[in-house]
Point group: C5
Chain length 344, copies 5
């Protein structure tokens, strides 16, 4: 609040983790890993003729500011890296490409965790900034180490694309999890236990809120990927175009899956409401029918319980069985009538 724009202050819900640096340098022939402690050591370890991937795990401790200063990055970009509440977007500066995206992971209780990942891409360098340790870049590290595929042969643009691709692949894992949650909720939507309804609605609303948040993240990621494809070729070479189109197609599919899940959730809610209301109505109807049958009979019993002296039928020996018979007949007729009218 009121700080000059570009002030390097961490903004986020988590406590920031102490930054840890790593540097992977490679070309088609060689591959090396370094884990320097200071920014100076890191900058010194960058190999100019090769492609270099600097990964920063954690945003605390002044290393982000120092690294960005060493790389000549604009102070507003530093502010954006440190504010992990930012929307995904892509921005082309004169010397580098800046990209904010979100990495998703799913907890065991099927809640989602969002981690902001920022990319700085130059001709010889990819820098990634993560909030916390732990990421989904394992397969990329392996492909770099073993030299499988074209990753060691291609430039930093392909490396950045490959990292993004893994993040987007991960979205589908998360989406699958959300689909399972909805499938489980769908089964429970017609649970006859009345006590479960409140809890069910609360869980469904939670799932809806989760999908809403997911949508708010995936839409701008899709826009960023689409913007990447429309950038002029300064940072991303023409041979990357089919890969970016493929990535965009995946993001479109992910966004569409979220929309489908949202409609599914709405449909589950409707089914549940119809089920609960239907069941409640049936119960109330049966209860009311029982009362309706017995109330007139009780009235008849009440009549012959009156204490008038002159009630001649009370003296007749056939009167009592007759009244009982009339009662049975009345009840029977009512039941038949209600059945006929399909009231129960």
């Amino acid at each position: 609040m009121g700080l000059p724009p570009g002030s390097p202050v961490y903004i986020g819900r988590r406590d920031p983790t102490q930054a840890v640096l790593s540097l992977l340098s490679f070309d088609e022939a060689e591959y090396g890993e370094v884990y320097p402690d200071t920014v100076e050591a890191l900058l010194a370890a960058i190999k100019p003729g090769k492609r270099n991937w600097i990964n920063v795990n954690g945003l605390s401790g002044g290393l982000v500011e120092a690294l960005c200063a060493g790389l000549g990055v604009h102070s507003l970009v530093v502010e954006d890296i440190l504010n992990v509440e930012h929307r995904p977007r892509v921005e082309a500066y004169d010397d580098y490409l800046f990209l904010i995206t979100k990495m998703l992971s799913i907890h065991e209780d099927s809640s989602l965790e969002y981690e902001q990942v920022c990319f700085i891409v130059t001709d010889s360098l990819v820098v990634t900034f993560q909030e916390t340790p732990g990421d989904c870049f394992g397969p990329i590290r392996q492909r770099l180490a073993t030299g499988v595929g074209r990753i060691r042969r291609s430039g930093t643009d392909y490396l950045a694309y490959a990292l993004l691709d893994v993040i987007v692949d991960n979205y589908f894992l998360v989406l699958e999890g959300q689909g399972d949650v909805l499938d489980h909720l769908e089964i429970r939507a017609t649970n006859p236990n009345p006590a479960a309804s409140g809890e069910f609605v609360a869980e469904l609303q939670q799932a809806k809120a989760g999908l809403l948040r997911l949508r708010r993240v995936l839409w701008p990621v899709r826009d960023s990927v689409s913007a990447l494809g429309r950038l002029d070729g300064r940072f991303l070479g023409p041979e990357l175009q089919p890969f970016l189109r493929d990535l965009l197609e995946n993001m479109v599919q992910a966004v569409e899956a979220v929309e489908t899940f949202r409609e599914h959730a709405a449909s589950i809610h409707e089914v549940h409401l119809a089920y609960v209301s239907n069941r409640m109505n049936e119960v109330m109807k049966v209860l009311t029918i029982i009362s309706t049958i017995f109330i007139p009979l009780t009235f008849l019993a009440g009549v012959y319980g009156m204490n008038f002296r002159h009630m001649p039928e009370l003296e007749k020996p056939w009167a009592y069985p007759l009244v009982l018979g009339v009662m049975a007949l009345g009840a029977g007729l009512m039941v038949v009538y209600f059945k006929r009218k399909k009231w129960f």
Copy 2:
């Protein structure tokens, strides 16, 4: 997950079927069919001066990869052919046009089946990839064999269009089936049997989900057809333009039909809800009216069933018939009052 982009891996819900190859070669004068076992035999059998249609039934067994490699197709395209969860789209590469679309078929229980069909179109070749055996291309094969219409006279672009046209024609068959399902549901929307309501709502939701899925497939197919019409003339000649416009018009109509069905389904739901709620209300009202008439009469009977010693009217001989008369009159007045007020 984490594989290098362009890895040829089958992704889908079905078990992949072993691929079967066929090759139809034709020009205006000649027509021939070959069923080679291997990709090499197939590639050798392609007749350069003629138009050739290669059909691949089934995606398993490495034949897709081998064929695409033989034809010089990009590895990302191979990945797209093998991932049958893809959205329909069209993509122009330097040497060929790549098109993903979906073939629909309707089961006897009115559920839908989706099969991905991919096209690769060059100047002398159309390659189609299907997930499973069985398709709707019979009429095309017959027209090719008998030489009816312009299909033998025209280029590969017309063949590709004719195949697409048959797929789109098939959509209308499927849409007709969905229309029948809705018409049947509409009749059942006012079924007085209360037990049927839950099942009805579930079936309606199923029909809605089916329409939603149909919509998600038909929209991108429409976009693809529209994109085909806007491609420059490298793959599709100018004499194809009126046919593509016609095809687009058909897709617009199909998409519109889905939207109409969706509104119809929503309207059926509303009618059903109004019917159920109305009927329930009427039943409850009648039951409540019966109780309301008898409860005051029972009170009156209760009064004369009290055991006070000094209740002079109990001794009168006219008291009992009078009370009975009062009861009948009260009941009658209540019935008349409720009728007057149109309460039942």
Copy 3:
């Protein structure tokens, strides 16, 4: 299904009517009508120096195909003329303009009938194809015969415009009818007769479905008229522009009227639901209040109907009137309390 594109097959819900031909030739000085039996006779009767209007009533019997062949019309256009389920649209070919539109008429039971009308417009010729005999072109024929207005002085483009204008004018007649239906439904929305509700909702849904269909027809007609205005001047002269703008303005108004009717129908539904639910609630409340007043009194009567030997108050001569008084007082107090709380 599976026929080659451009096959001349009638598609529609009605049985096709045998085609009847008529030819009106006119210029500023002369006017003549011919009713030839065959296409050859018709083509021979066309007067080259004049403007000619050929009207084809009915689509059966091969005359449409023969006439189109004689005029050199594309086979896809013939297919479109014979398929009466097509969406309104406009298409400019090299030698002629092709236009699909819908003529509406309203039945006495306020249901709508749609008839497809196709136009082919060249420099010297307007051809109209109608599904069935009977149309709204009477005023045009009269103006042509009597020479009122500019119709005999202007070209075929003005004739085509005048025919379209009459069709669009007719829409407003139909819209007025729909407005009357809604006004009638609005009055019935607060009908106290409970039995009428189901029927009312069904009729309202029918009206909504009718408006939906109307909308689906009028939107593309509006788009066609808008497209006509944007065509380059090959078929439609510059002096027609103000008339086309006027026509478009009318179509915009017609489409807007449909939207207003749709919102009106939705509002009628809401009013009805609120009315029914309100009324039902009031009835149930009154009935429940009656029961609530008598049930405690019945309990009191029941207490003094118990057969305990030692119930001293039963012996007192003032007990019976006292209990009756207490009962009356209790009932009165409850009524006053409920009234105070505005419960009825």
Copy 4:
């Protein structure tokens, strides 16, 4: 229906008023008013070197047609002036600008009245056509007469703008009235009198319908003002641009106010429904609780009202008070239980 386009026929819901003519001529130095009876006298009275404002009050009697003929206006424009059901729009002809707009006034019962006002603007002339006498142009006449502001110094474009500006200013008066209606309805939304609910819903629907109509009028007026700003400078000078931008800003605000009112009306409806349903539920619950307490007690009384010979407890002197005590205790326990569970 079926008349040639451009026929001068009055179309509208009101009976047309006999037209009355007035002419105001002015320049920076002079100002004069004339009220001629005939179009010829009017046309003769126009002063060429000055700016002239012709106002036509009422559309009947052939004066509109004669005046338009005298000014060389297109017959379609005349038809548009006489059809008062037209949508607001702006159209630039070669010699004049034609503008349709709507003047609003609010009745004492807060219903709205719409009057169509058409403008024809040339370099030396503004003609306004109104349906009925009575308008909101008084301040303009006064400014013209007294020479306040720039109106006498500026051209006819500024006069036309000033007239439009007064009409738009008037919209805000009307909008304020609608806001008052909604505020009044909001207070009544939680009126406990059940009889008032039906009437309330009807009034709310009426207010909603009024807002819908208002919206349908204001949107095209806004579009017209926006179109005015985008016209090339033939009729509207560059020094008018800031004024037109200001006018557009006002129209945007008016349209936004209508949207806000519509959302407010929807929110009032929701509050009302929640209130009514809540209240109804509370009443039914209390009534049901009363019944539920007394029905078991009545059963107990019924047990001791049975006439079995061998009911030993009937003989005990302490039995009657004991039963009464049990009854009181049971009732008390039920009340406490229901209170504990917050059932009332």
Copy 5:
């Protein structure tokens, strides 16, 4: 109403405050504050070679008009400054940039207050007009006084941006407050106390209305910021572009937060409705079950309370305990049956 456009009249809901003037002049070296009483003194105190910030607190007393006249500002701009109901927007005049925006503050009862702030920006001058004393510009004044950051080194464009940035930063404070309100409402959505429901719904609607108003303010502010970024460089230098992009990104996030809050509010409403309806249903069901169990038992008691002479079972000593047993058994069976069917 009816005033000439550009009349300087205060329009707003508050009583206008007497204007108070202040002037801050600075360059990289010097900084000075002046508080002149009159516009003449102020204009005389402006230092031409430096950057000057004039702040006007309060709109009453003719100072705004005098100042604008002294600075050569268009009369329509003066009218806009004095009408505090205007929508945020940006407008480029020949000599200055004019910007309307809104400053938000949150009261202790979590209601919002809106204050209009207008900017006039020239090469050497920023003028800000506020409705009332009290603003959020404190940090800017401090940065100007202490020379922290680039604010003293940069031009008036950066000063204007910094002021806007502080206003936008303040929006997030307000949004956080709204989020707290919603979180608090979410907890209360499942409050079992029935009396609280009406109040809850009213508060929720109030929160919704507040969010709607917030949205109507933030959308045009976002559009203004976006328009600022698209202005040619006359007033805003190229080195300001990254800052404006950052500001726009913040506004996009603020607008998105409002949309998320709106969906959250809707979800809270749904949860509340489901909770209330569920609870009500459960209560009614339990009450009805109690009645349903006792009504048949009461009937049985009524039968044996009849006074027929010939009721042989009344004489049997085992009859009374048998009937009591039957009653207990019947009640027990009903309870078991209802439990089995999960009716409670």
